[in-house]
Symmetry: C2
Subunit: 496 residues, 2 copies
């Protein structure tokens, strides 16, 4: 074994002052790679730092720093009075032998968890959405209308004036003044019955759904879910190991009796009673009472996802199921993503007093807490009335956009699509002419640059008439009209 | 059944203009509660809106709005030409009968998931930390030194100048320019070998640990964890259903051979090789190679938590285990919470190319994505050099604080505590005089207002000599000295 140091052996590339990488880093990496690849074998005596510095035309300190680093990391050994050596007994063959066998992109050993495969098999969207909204993407806000200047102003002020301790770890449950504002808002506007102590701040409703499922469901537990359904909830429940029970709907909402037939021992029911996703059905009062009774009798939990109830265009928003519950069976979930802007990632849960501690403990290990600056800004945004004002403005705007969509569809597509005014929501259901398959039509629409997901994409067991879902809230009226034009062209081409 | 409307029946409290609640809301709530409680029974004919408005001395429109709302919600029925009635067939007895049986705070039916109970039984801290840091809380940053004005300035500019589309949903994997900056930083400073495409933005390292555990571990899978250990990692692994294998350490770090003896088929090993938490041991090069070989041979994953490696006070930070891995077995995790400020909640993973899609899919259903504004601000904070500058400043500051702590302990507590300089980290290990029990001493310290968690709190199976852990990074020097004074008083009182 060659025991003498040879400069050539370690410097594949000469040290350069022009490649933007520090001299330290170049020499360090060169030596490290030479040792790992055994070009510099165990036991080789390194030249003195003075000598190497001279050869490399760098400062001696740089070489000394490199030696210190490699000694600290175990690549070199420093022996008193004799010098510096490449470390002995490094089991480098372990690295070498295997490198050849296992190619960098190996699939054989890519063992991941079952739940991760479930996540891979589920998708939010009919097709991946990469760019800004186009007609008729669903669930997007009119971000051009968001009062960003106000947000910026509050943000500046907060960052400059808040107590420094807001930079430290916060409470897992969320910033108390924000929780208080939310409790007030929900009590006054949504008929939620809650104390501030029941409100938990989450990082958006998807994070909340995941949290709920993980706190309440064990692997193999049965959970009711509406069919058709919100796929984010489906993934969250499956991710916690739940066995899904797909419960159909009628014009009064979820058919509780059907759920009881399908599954006697479900631990949880996930529902969107104010405005069912995606059909828009409002759950009737008798049905609500029936569901509460079922939960109470079976000690089951109800998850009420109130994802778009701020956008009710006639009358006030409907009061919540949570507000009817006398037995602490309802976990209520709401989000700021749709009302303010999606990339904010803040939402809230209202949980029964009994469960606050369980949820907070779990949240602290799953997320720690939602980012504090965002919570501080949002608190003032609500307190100063901007939140209420923005909701009212958006309610008018979205009502207007819905009107534009419905009129345009009625005028241009009446042979193919039947669409009705909806008193609430962020998208409309457009029923297809008999004989047209929604998945096929949606694919053809996509080819024309129009995003109009098929209702069947949201169905699991239920078979419903074919329909397209047309979002309108995040789409400017001109885009809505252009989208309808393109759909018209697409439908006409079918006739040929 | 009394079928005539009686004003007294529904108004428990008279309508008031002075209680800050809208007239609409007062009347609505009054009627709703009267119906739910059957004080206003099914079938009662409601007075005309004109009459009720006159009785209540409110505008007729207000009463009409209330009626419309209650009709929409199913509490009232409107019959053409005959008037408005309390709805028939509301199964209200379901609510009523059960209310008495189940008290509001019931524990019988509080069924939660096993993993939620695990979260409840684990804790980050020896005692809950509610307020700002005091001596000697661990893992806190010197938030007083954070350049908040710079953060505020970038924040203002970003919010005002960013494209509006940044308010829309972002990419689950994170904002690409931020991921690029992180990849550059890790390559240059931490010896991580990665492409931008392997970097995933997470909402803090705890969220990342949870994500890793859930993507890689099925219920019942074995996972190695260091003993003593970081409790956040323990909770994350248990939360995914893992069976923990507690592997002891020696002066070279995790004893790989011991791990192999304890568990042949572990799927994952969680380690802190740069600076073991909480002991501070640096994993030796031979041990690192051994661990990589084990992972490769067994197709197991290594989770490298590099939680405090920026704070190395002599020489450069040690290069990572990830940088030695030729077989894509290492998932690397880092955080901005400790380097910048804890309430920011941003961190990053570097995952093997093979796993990027699995992690991104899972993240999209667990979190959707980290908040966008924070990501935008941080990107500029790094690009403009503030990040590097801040790390360098904090490195000097923390080195200084460590010195203050160690000198003060040596001068004042040498009879009770043995403490040595550590070349890295955010806390020091202070070994107790033989015969003193660390849990008892820590409790006595707490009584004196000093937080000094016992090493035994972090141990599961291993029995180590008694020691206290003393954080110093987030504590001002005067506080450090005051804390040492108080410890001195406490120790002196023991002698009595």
């Amino acid at each position: 074994m060659k025991k003498k140091f040879d400069l050539e052996l370690f410097l594949n590339e000469p040290v350069s002052r022009k490649n933007g990488i520090s001299l330290f880093h170049q020499i360090y990496e060169g030596l490290r790679r030479a040792i790992l690849s055994k070009r510099l074998p165990s036991g080789v005596k390194m030249p003195s730092s003075r000598l190497l510095a001279k050869d490399l035309k760098v400062a001696r300190n740089t070489v000394m720093d490199v030696y210190d680093q490699l000694i600290a990391e175990g690549f070199l050994d420093s022996k008193a009075r004799t010098g510096t050596f490449v470390a002995e007994n490094l089991p480098l063959e372990l690295l070498e032998t295997k490198r050849a066998e296992n190619p960098a992109k190996s699939t054989i050993s890519r063992h991941i968890a079952k739940r991760a495969r479930v996540f891979g098999e589920t998708s939010f969207w009919f097709t991946p959405i990469k760019n800004a909204p186009r007609a008729f993407q669903m669930g997007f806000s009119a971000i051009d209308e968001f009062p960003i200047e106000i947000w910026a102003r509050i943000s500046s002020r907060k960052i400059r004036t808040m107590p420094r301790k807001q930079l430290d770890y916060g409470e897992a449950q969320g910033y108390p003044p924000l929780r208080e504002e939310i409790a007030k808002y929900l009590t006054a506007s949504r008929g939620v019955r809650c104390e501030t102590s029941q409100v938990i701040i989450i990082a958006g409703s998807q994070q909340g759904l995941d949290l709920i499922a993980r706190v309440l469901l064990d692997e193999g537990d049965e959970a009711w879910i509406e069919d058709p359904k919100y796929n984010g909830a489906k993934a969250a429940l499956l991710g916690a190991g739940a066995k899904l029970v797909h419960v159909p709907l009628d014009s009064e909402g979820l058919i509780v009796k059907k759920g009881e037939q399908l599954s006697k021992k479900a631990r949880l029911a996930y529902i969107t009673p104010s405005h069912q996703f995606p059909l828009g059905v409002v759950m009737s009062l008798p049905r609500r009472l029936e569901l509460l009774e079922w939960a109470n009798k079976n000690s089951a939990w109800i998850v009420e996802d109130d994802y778009d109830s701020e956008f009710r265009y006639e009358g006030k928003p409907l009061m919540t199921l949570q507000g009817l519950d006398n037995n602490n069976r309802v976990i209520y979930i709401g989000t700021f993503s749709k009302v303010l802007f999606p990339s904010l990632r803040l939402g809230y849960l209202v949980v029964p007093p009994d469960l606050v501690e369980d949820f907070t403990n779990a949240l602290s290990f799953i997320l720690f807490h939602a980012p504090m600056l965002e919570q501080l800004i949002l608190t003032d945004f609500i307190r100063e009335g901007h939140f209420g004002r923005h909701i009212r403005r958006m309610r008018n705007l979205y009502a207007e956009r819905q009107k534009v969509l419905i009129n345009a569809v009625k005028e241009n597509l009446e042979d193919f699509l039947k669409i009705e005014k909806d008193v609430a929501g962020m998208h409309a259901v457009a029923w297809l002419k008999k004989g047209l398959n929604d998945a096929e039509i949606a694919k053809k629409a996509l080819e024309q640059g129009v995003y109009a997901p098929p209702l069947s994409f949201y169905c699991t067991k239920v078979k419903l008439p074919d329909a397209l879902l047309l979002g309108y809230t995040g789409i400017a009226p001109a885009e809505i009209l252009a989208g309808v034009e393109r759909l018209k062209g697409m439908f006409k081409s079918l006739k040929v």
